[in-house]
Symmetry: D2
Subunit: 354 residues, 4 copies
C-alpha cells in the first residue's frame, strides 16, 4: 500500500481552505496532517477556529487538529496554500526556501518568471520551470506551483482546444462572478441584494495576464505569453458559487459553431490519460439547451471539476462566441490546486516523508 | 390653460402598463382616460383587474376606470401600447388605421420600414418617416412611433455622443438584465435564486438590429442602418429593476478615456432644449467611483430617465470600454414612450380632441 | 434476489415528481416503470416533456419513458402521486378503485376519514385505517396512503417525542418557507426578490389540521385528532429549498431545555428499527450553534430526510421554543412518500406483480 | 422666521447616520452642522469618509463637513446618535453631562431607569422622566431620550391601540428582519443568499423588554413595565429594508377581527395632533389584500413612517393575530429619533443656540 503524502493547509479556515479539507476527505494519496491560518486563530482547535460553511460536517481529518501559525516548519510533506493575497507572497517563499513543495491558489507568485502557473489539462509542460524555481529557492529542493485565478481557469481551459485546432487571435471576456470568490465575509449582503457590482479589484488584470501566461510557450527556461490580446470586464452577482463568463473569440482560421462544439466536447488531456483522482472524465461538457450553462444547475458537473460550455454561436464582431461556467472554489481554486498536486505526484515531484 | 391630450393605455395591467400610469400621474399634458388589456380582465374595474406591483397606491386616474378590450374605437386622442409582443402587431396597426397615433413600447413594429424607432435625444429626425407611415395606415391620419428594446435604449443613447465625436466602428455589448424586463409573472424565482440565466429569447438580435437602426441615417424616406457591427450577449440576473451592460467599442479615431467621459457628461439634445417634461436634465451621468454604476443605487437617477455610465477605460481588444445602466421600465420602456409622445406633441403631431 | 416493485409516478414532470425520480434512482426495492402527468405533455418522451431542474442529469430510469395520461390502467404495481391538488382527488380515487395502492403527496385526501396520513416515525399505527380504506375503494384491494404537507411533516415529527415524554398542550408555529414548495414556475421572482410574502394559500389551515390528525389516536376504526390547538402563520421567503419554522410549545409537565434537547436527539422509531432504506439514522438532529438551523447549511442533513432542530429555549408565553428545519421536497414531499412506501412494503401491503 | 436647531450626528457614516442626513435634508427646524463618527474617519471630508449607500446623492448639508470625533464639545444644539452599541453608552453620557440633549437610536441607555424610551404616538408622557434624567446628568441641563429597537417600534405601535381598547395579556412575535438592521457591512452575502439565519444577537431580549417598558406606566418618577409577557423569535432574511413581524396577541376582552382592524386604522395620536413634520397622517395603515404587508411594497408607506398591518385574524392559541411591517431604518431608527426630536422641540425641551 502506498504511503500517504502528508498535507499542510495554509489558510485552512477560509472558504478555499475549507474546500481543500472537503475535497481531500478520503483522497487516495493525500492526508491532511496540519492546518494553519493567519487569522489569529492560532492554537485553537480547528472546529473552534472556524465556522464551517460548506454544509455537512467538518471532515474527520480536521477534527483533532489545532490551527498552527503559517510558518515553517510544519508537520507535512507539502503545503497547499490559500492564504490571503496580502500575506501569501513572503510566507510561500519561506516555505519553499525551507524545502517544502508549495501548491498555491494565491495570486502572489502566479506571474513570477520562475513559478509555473498550471492547469494540468492545458500546460503541464510548464512544470519544466520547476528546475529554475528550485534553484531560486535555495538548496532545500522546495518550489512553488500555482493555479490560476478562479475565472482565468475556465477561460484558459476552454481556449486550449480552440488554440490547438484553430488558433486564437483575440479574446473578449465578460464575467458574472459568484460571492464565494470574495471569501468570507467578503461581499456585504446589503451591497448585492437586488444588485450587481461591476467591479472586482484586480480581477480584470488577472484574467488578462494569467490567460496569456497559461497559453504561452515554455522556451529557453521561461514562458513567453501568448500573443493574442485578452479583454476582461468583471461583475459580482448574487450567486453563492459558480462563475459564468460570456466569451467572444477571434480564431486563426474559419470555423463553424459545430466545429467549436466538437473541439470542446472531445477535449481530453494528460490528467484524463493519467487517471488523476480529481480529473473529471470530461474537462469540458457542452450543453445544447439555449439557456445553459447556469450556475446553480451546472456548477457541480464532474464534482465541480468539469467546465460547462453553452450558447456556441457566430459573433458579428469577434467571429465566435460562447458562455462558460465553472465552480469557482473547486475547479477555480481548491480542486485546481489538488489536481496540480496529483500531477506533481504522478511526475515524481512529491514524495512522502520528504 | 392647455387642453389635455386624452391617453388610452393598451396593456395597462402589466408591469410597463403600470409604469405608464405611475409616470403619467400629474403629467402636464397627458391625462389617462382609458385602460385596455388583452388578458381577459375586460370589463373589470382596473383595481380588480390587476395587482399593483410598484409600491404606493394605484394612481388616481385609474381608480374609476374599467378595463376595455384593446380594440378601436377607444375614448382617447392617442394610445400608448405595452401589449405583449405576440398580440401587439395587428392591434397597433388597427389603431393606426383607425386614425389613432400609436406610441408603442412593443417590439412588433420597431423594425418596420415605415415606422420610426426613436430616442428623442438620439434620432428625433427619424420622425420624418411619419409621412410614409401615415400613408401606409390609410386616410385616418394615424401612425405608429416606437421606442427601443429596454437594453437597446441605453446602448444607443451612450453610443450617440461617441458616434458624433469619434465615429463608431464596432460594438460589443454584454448585458445583465433585471427581472422586470420579463414582465409579470415572468421569471420563476426558483429559476433565478442563486443563479444567472444566460438567455433571453430574441434579446440579442433586438439589441444588435435596433441599435443600428436608431443610429442609422434617414435618407430618401427610409432609414439606412448604421454600418458598424454590434455583438450582444444577454443574461438575466436576480435584480428587480435596472439593466446593466458592459460595453466595448472601437472608435473611428483615437481618443482617451477622459475624452469619452467628457462626451458622455456634456451630452445634451433636443428634449433638453425643448424642456420636455420627462426629459432629464442630463441624459447621461458619469460616476467616477470604481464600482458604479449599480442597479440599486443608480436606476432612479433622473427619476429613472438618466442613464449612468462608469468604468470608462481603454480596452485591449476593442479599444475602449465602459459600463452603462438604466432603469429598464422607465427609460427602457414607459418613460421612453412618454418622452416620444412629448416630442410628438412639441412637434405638432398630437392634438387634443383629435 | 427480490423482485422489484414497479412504480408509476403521477405528476412526474413537476418539482416533486422530479424528486421522486431522483430519490428512486438506484432504490433497492422500487423501479420506476411509468411516468404520467396532467400537463398536456402526454405522449412525449419524458426528457422532452419536462425541464430537469434538480442539477445533474435526468435519472436513467426515465430516459426511455414516454409520459402517460394519469389514468388507470398503468404498467406498475403502485402509484406515487404528486399531482396538483386540483386534479389529485378524483384521479387518486380512480387508481385506488382500480386496485392500485396509491402513495400520495397531494393534499386532496389527507383529511379523509378513511385515509391514513402517516409519518413512519410518528404514527405508523394509523395504517390500521387501511382496512377501512380498502373497503371504501371497492373490491380491487386498492387504497390511498398520504404523507403530510411539507411544513406539517417537520412540526409533527418534532412534536412526537415531546408529546410522548411531556405531553403537548398548545403549539404556535411561524414558518419561513422555500420557493420549491410552490412548484414550478410557482412564485414570480419579481414578487420575492428583496421581499417576503406573508401568505401561502391554504397552508396555515393545513398545518393546523394535519398536525392534529397525525398526532391523534386511532381508535374504533377512526382517528381522533390530538386535542391541543395549533396556530400557524406562514411566510414565503427567498430560499430555493428548505422550510424553517419557529415553534413555541406548551408542554404537559415542566421540563427544561436540556430535557427537550435529549428528547429530540435520542428519538428513534420504527423506520430506524426496520432499517428502511430511506430512513435516516437520526430523524432529528440537534445543532447547538446559536445560529442554526439554516436552510442552505442543514437542508441536506441525512440526505434530506433528517430534520434539524436548534435554538431550544424557554419561552415567556408558551413555555418552550425552538427552531426546526427540513428539506421540503425530500422529507417534506417525495422522501416522505417513499418512506411511507417502504413501510408499506415492510408491512406486506405492497407486492410485485400485483 | 424660526431659528434652526443645529444638529450634530454621531455615527454619521453608518447606515442609520446616512438616513439621518437624508431625512433631515430640507427639514423645517433642524439643520445638520456637524457629523461625527467613531470609525477612524476623523478629519476627513464626509464624502471621503463614507460610501453613500442610499441611492441619490449625498445631501447638500453634508458636502462641506469634515468628520469629527464623537466627543463634546461639538458645534451643535443637540446630538442625534446612531453610534454602535459598544461605544454609544459612555459617549452619550458624556454629551448629556456636557449639557447636550441627546436623541439616541442606540440600545445602550434604552432600559436605564432615568432615560425615557419613547414613541411619540405611544408614550409621550414618558418624557416626564426627563427631570430625573437631567438631574442624573449634572448641572448642564443635558439629557438622553431614546427610541426603541427597530422591531420593537412597530410592535409597540400596533399594540398601543389594542392595549387602549381591549387590554393586552400576552404577545408572541416572530420577526423576519431586513439586512440594513445589521448595518454595513453587516451580514455577509455568502451567509444569507438562498438562506435564512434564525438568530440576531440580543434582538429577542430587546423586543421582549423594550415593548414592556414602552407600554408601561410612568408613576412616581419611574416607569413600571407593562405586566404582560412578550415572546420574540427573530430571523434575518434576504431583504434590504423593511422588518416584518407575525404577531399573536391575547386581549383583555373578546374582540373580533373587524374591531382590531378599526382600532388600527383609526389610531391617531399626539404627533398627528401637533402636526409634527415627520409624523405620518396615519401611524398605522391596514391592507386588506391577503398577501400584504410585504417589505418591498409597503416599507415606504408614509415616507417610511407609517406601519402597515395585514392578515388580521383569529388565532387558535392566543386569540388574535396579524402581520405588521415597517421601514427599519426610518420608522425603526432615524425617523423614530427625528420624530422624538420634533416632539421635544414642540414641548420646549430643545432650543437653538443652547
Amino acid at each position: 500500500m502506498q504511503e500517504m503524502i502528508r498535507v499542510g493547509i495554509l489558510g485552512a479556515t477560509g472558504i478555499v481552505g475549507q474546500r481543500f479539507l472537503q475535497l481531500l476527505d478520503g483522497h487516495p494519496s493525500f492526508a491532511v496532517t496540519t492546518v494553519a491560518a493567519s487569522d489569529r486563530s492560532e492554537g485553537k482547535p480547528y472546529t473552534d477556529a472556524c465556522t464551517w460553511r460548506l454544509g455537512g460536517d467538518v471532515p474527520r481529518a480536521a477534527l483533532g487538529l489545532r490551527v498552527q501559525a503559517p510558518e515553517p516548519p510544519l508537520d507535512c510533506d507539502v503545503v497547499f496554500s490559500s492564504l490571503p493575497a496580502e500575506v501569501a507572497g513572503p510566507v510561500e517563499t519561506r516555505f519553499a526556501q525551507a524545502g517544502y513543495p508549495v501548491i498555491s491558489n494565491s495570486s502572489a507568485h502566479r506571474l513570477s518568471e520562475s513559478v509555473p502557473l498550471v492547469i494540468p489539462e492545458v500546460n503541464p509542460e510548464h512544470l519544466g520551470l520547476l528546475d529554475t524555481c528550485r534553484d531560486a529557492m535555495g538548496a532545500g529542493g522546495g518550489f512553488i506551483v500555482t493555479n490560476p485565478n478562479c475565472s482565468a481557469v475556465m477561460i484558459a481551459l476552454t481556449l486550449a482546444p480552440l488554440a490547438a485546432r484553430f488558433g486564437v487571435e483575440a479574446v473578449v471576456v465578460t464575467t458574472l462572478q459568484a460571492l464565494s470568490g470574495a471569501g468570507h465575509p467578503g461581499v456585504s449582503a446589503l451591497d448585492i441584494t437586488d444588485n450587481v457590482i461591476p467591479f472586482i479589484a484586480g480581477e480584470e488584470e488577472k484574467i488578462e495576464r494569467e490567460t496569456r501566461k497559461i497559453l504561452g510557450r515554455l522556451q529557453g527556461g521561461r514562458v513567453a505569453p501568448a500573443g493574442f490580446p485578452v479583454s476582461a470586464q468583471c461583475h459580482r452577482v448574487n450567486v453563492a458559487d459558480g462563475h459564468l463568463a460570456a466569451v467572444r473569440v477571434t480564431l486563426g482560421r474559419p470555423a463553424d459553431p459545430a466545429e467549436l462544439r466538437e473541439a470542446f466536447a472531445s477535449f481530453r488531456a494528460l490528467p484524463q490519460e493519467l487517471g488523476l483522482p480529481s480529473a473529471p472524465a470530461q474537462p469540458i461538457v457542452v450543453r445544447d439547451e439555449p439557456d445553459r450553462p447556469q450556475p446553480r444547475l451546472d456548477r457541480d458537473a464532474g464534482r465541480g471539476m468539469t467546465v460547462t460550455v453553452g450558447r456556441i454561436a457566430r459573433d458579428g464582431v469577434l467571429g465566435h462566441r460562447f458562455v462558460v461556467l465553472s465552480h469557482n472554489t473547486v475547479r477555480g481554486a481548491a480542486g485546481a490546486a489538488i489536481l496540480n498536486a496529483e500531477l506533481l505526484l504522478a511526475k515524481g515531484y512529491l514524495k512522502p516523508g520528504a
